[in-house]
């Protein structure tokens, strides 16, 4: 078995896929170099990003697949799920070998179905976080939101929040991956958070949970209380249904909300 080891970037993955298609080995796998665990029986090959190959592959895919299907591939990559590289490259190889176009419509095919399933999970999480991101206003005026999404999605939240909060500086911080997106009032760019943010910002639970709140703007504690009061007041007691609440908003998302969701 040949293990293609890539750097974890999307161009890296596409280079690896191109290589597997060109070399036509039967027994192979693609794996992030950082996650690779060597065993006795496999050969390894380090993938070096080749922009020519990436360009060729993308151009041929663009003829074969619709735009949403290309996006599906990228979403699947962002899922970072185990074995996703293999699934993506099998899908790409099937799509390029299919004589017609729009292979992605073949929902009878297991690979297609699996790609769609994972992609829709990722896009569902993007949709959820458009709602679940909670900004806290900090002393310096920046609106700061800590998040811990399952998938690597914060770059895809950027257009949504840039269009919405054009007149305020904000920062969304993926605590799990140590990276963020920062909008400086003009444009949005990715940042590595350990470099630019003081330690106090890195863990920032809502005021309500009793954290010492010297890092927040003066109005922040009161607003968080107002929001929590509002949140508690809108529930209709006769319709009490915690199961339904949990179904829409699983408990793993509660940690960084400002409102207090009760068990």
């Amino acid at each position: 078995m040949i293990e293609y080891l890539y750097d974890g970037s999307f161009p890296g993955l596409l280079t690896a896929v191109y290589q597997t298609l060109a070399e036509k080995n039967t027994d192979w796998n693609i794996c992030r170099a950082s996650e690779f665990q060597p065993d006795l029986f496999s050969q390894t090959q380090i993938v070096v990003i080749n922009n020519d190959w990436v360009g060729k592959l993308v151009a041929s895919l663009a003829c074969k697949l619709s735009k949403p299907a290309l996006l599906d591939i990228y979403y699947c990559f962002l899922s970072e799920e185990r074995g996703i590289e293999k699934l993506i490259s099998v899908f790409i190889s099937k799509a390029t070998q299919y004589p017609g176009t729009q292979f992605e419509k073949n929902c009878g095919d297991k690979t297609v179905l699996e790609i769609q399933k994972i992609s829709s999970r990722v896009s569902y999480e993007i949709h959820r976080f458009q709602g679940f991101v909670r900004f806290r206003q900090m002393k310096d005026g920046i609106y700061y939101a800590p998040v811990e999404p399952n998938y690597n999605i914060i770059s895809l939240l950027a257009p949504h929040f840039t269009a919405r909060f054009a007149d305020q500086q904000w920062l969304i911080h993926d605590l799990r991956r140590g990276k963020g997106i920062f909008y400086d009032g003009d444009k949005c760019s990715p940042v590595r958070l350990s470099e630019i943010q003081p330690e106090a910002l890195r863990r920032c639970p809502p005021v309500l949970s009793g954290m010492e709140n010297s890092v927040f703007a003066a109005a922040e504690p009161e607003l968080q209380h107002l929001w929590n009061d509002y949140f508690q007041a809108v529930a209709i007691p006769e319709r009490h249904n915690k199961k339904l609440q949990r179904q829409h908003m699983p408990s793993r998302y509660w940690k960084h909300l400002v409102e207090q969701v009760e068990e």
Binding site: K105, G108, F132, A235, I236
Partner: protein
């Protein structure tokens, strides 16, 4: 009274309005302002309250003082509850601060009637205009029309907000007379058809002049209370159908009547709100809007209530067994939509996937078809999954085995009301 208490009172007073949509607008962020009401086809829910309903807008009343005494309403003038009113500034500040923190998609503003309809409407309009003009706020705004407000105010509001709505609440004129004696039928229906007409007129204007302002880009909606008066489901669905087809309505919300007044002889004594009935009505509503059904197909005059234990589409299919089974690999999209267990998404997937080869039952299961229901109504390349073809047998298999989970207040077919129900509201064009 401090702001926290006000907010608690005026949010709790608004909570019985079921409307929560924040989708369908095309308002974009202009001049680097705050907010953007164009979202993906779906709106965005920001949280879910302990009753499982989503929180997407700051849903509040301007005031819960009210001159009206509608029996079903928690804010009726004779009810002894704490009362309060916001100032215009307070609502603006709350909306902006909540929005900046991504708590909400925008504002839902309703109110009890202060002095008279126009006075109240003017105050609400002030909030909306200031948000748009002074704060450059481009988030979503849903404004309630106070029944009886003048057309001038409604028309002006329509150019600042994303959605307008007038709540019908009671689906028949008799119900209104009985429980909301100060409300006139025309106070409710006239503004609705006025808004409907304005939407049409505005659409034509915008075709001619590219820069013409958009009148209520997210359309109008309404709410019907279910179970406070004696209307049948058929009457309710017929009303909804008219509203969708004739006054350009985007959504009808159904709200199970939560017994809040315990001493009114005209109100039914329910042990629990009719949640299951509300749920079935929503299913039937979806059939009207997205599945090409007519209200007469869903319910028959001699059976005017939806079945509690079966969804309305399955009910229709069982009454029309002669149309089945349908061959999944052949029939068109609209026929697929009529099969119980197949929704819009799975129908679209079936159409796309069968171009690549005929589908089997296990393919269908993977595409998301609910075979538990669909199996009695389809064939795959001529093959059946079930040999049952009579209504009683299928019904028996589909009915829930256990006792229904949701408590039902009473069987809707028992006469709760002794006077005959009158005709439902009808709409007239100007």
């Amino acid at each position: 009274m401090d702001l926290n208490d006000k907010l608690k009172i005026l949010a709790a007073a608004a909570k019985y309005d079921a409307s929560c949509a924040s989708s369908g607008s095309n308002r974009v962020n202009r001049n680097k302002g705050l907010g953007n009401a164009t979202t993906a086809p779906m709106g965005i829910c920001h949280s879910w309250a302990a009753d499982g309903r989503c929180v997407s807008l700051l849903k509040i009343l301007f005031s819960n003082y009210c001159t009206n005494d509608c029996a079903y309403c928690v804010n009726r003038s004779s009810n002894d509850i704490p009362r309060s009113s916001f100032s215009v500034r307070e609502i603006i500040d709350l909306t902006i601060s909540f929005y900046r923190r991504n708590y909400i998609e925008g504002l839902f503003l309703s109110s009890g009637v202060l002095k008279n309809a126009d006075y109240t409407m003017e105050l609400m309009l002030q909030v909306v205009k200031k948000l748009r003009q002074e704060e450059n706020f481009n988030g979503y705004i849903h404004l309630k029309v106070i029944p009886g407000a003048s057309q001038r105010l409604i028309n002006e509001a329509g150019f600042y907000v994303d959605r307008l709505s007038v709540n019908i609440e009671l689906p028949s004129e008799r119900g209104l007379k009985l429980l909301a004696p100060q409300k006139q039928k025309d106070d409710i229906l006239k503004p609705m058809s006025y808004i409907g007409t304005q939407i049409t007129v505005n659409a034509e204007e915008r075709q001619k002049f590219r820069k013409a302002l958009h009148f209520v880009p997210a359309g109008q909606s309404t709410q019907l209370i279910v179970g406070a008066t004696s209307e049948t489901d058929l009457q309710i669905l017929k009303l909804s159908e008219q509203l969708y087809r004739r006054v350009n309505l985007k959504r009808v919300y159904y709200s199970a009547y939560v017994p809040i007044a315990h001493n009114n002889p005209f109100l039914p004594a329910l042990s629990a709100p009719p949640f299951r009935r509300e749920n079935r009505l929503y299913q039937a509503d979806w059939l009207l809007r997205f599945y090409g059904f007519q209200s007469e197909e869903i319910l028959l005059p001699d059976q005017p209530f939806l079945e509690a234990d079966l969804d309305p589409k399955t009910g229709w299919a069982l009454r029309n067994l002669h149309r089945f089974p349908l061959e999944v690999n052949k029939v068109d999209y609209h026929s697929l939509l009529r099969i119980p267990g197949i929704g819009q998404k799975s129908a679209q997937r079936i159409i796309a996937a069968r171009r690549f080869g005929s589908l089997t039952f296990s393919d269908l299961a993977r595409l998301g078809v609910v075979l538990k229901r669909a199996r009695y109504f389809i064939t795959c390349s001529g093959r059946f999954l079930e040999n049952v073809d009579n209504e009683t047998a299928i019904r028996q298999r589909l009915l829930p085995k256990t006792v229904p989970k949701l408590p039902e207040a009473s069987n809707p077919q028992l006469p709760l009301f002794f006077e005959p129900a009158d005709t439902p509201l009808t709409l007239h064009y100007h």
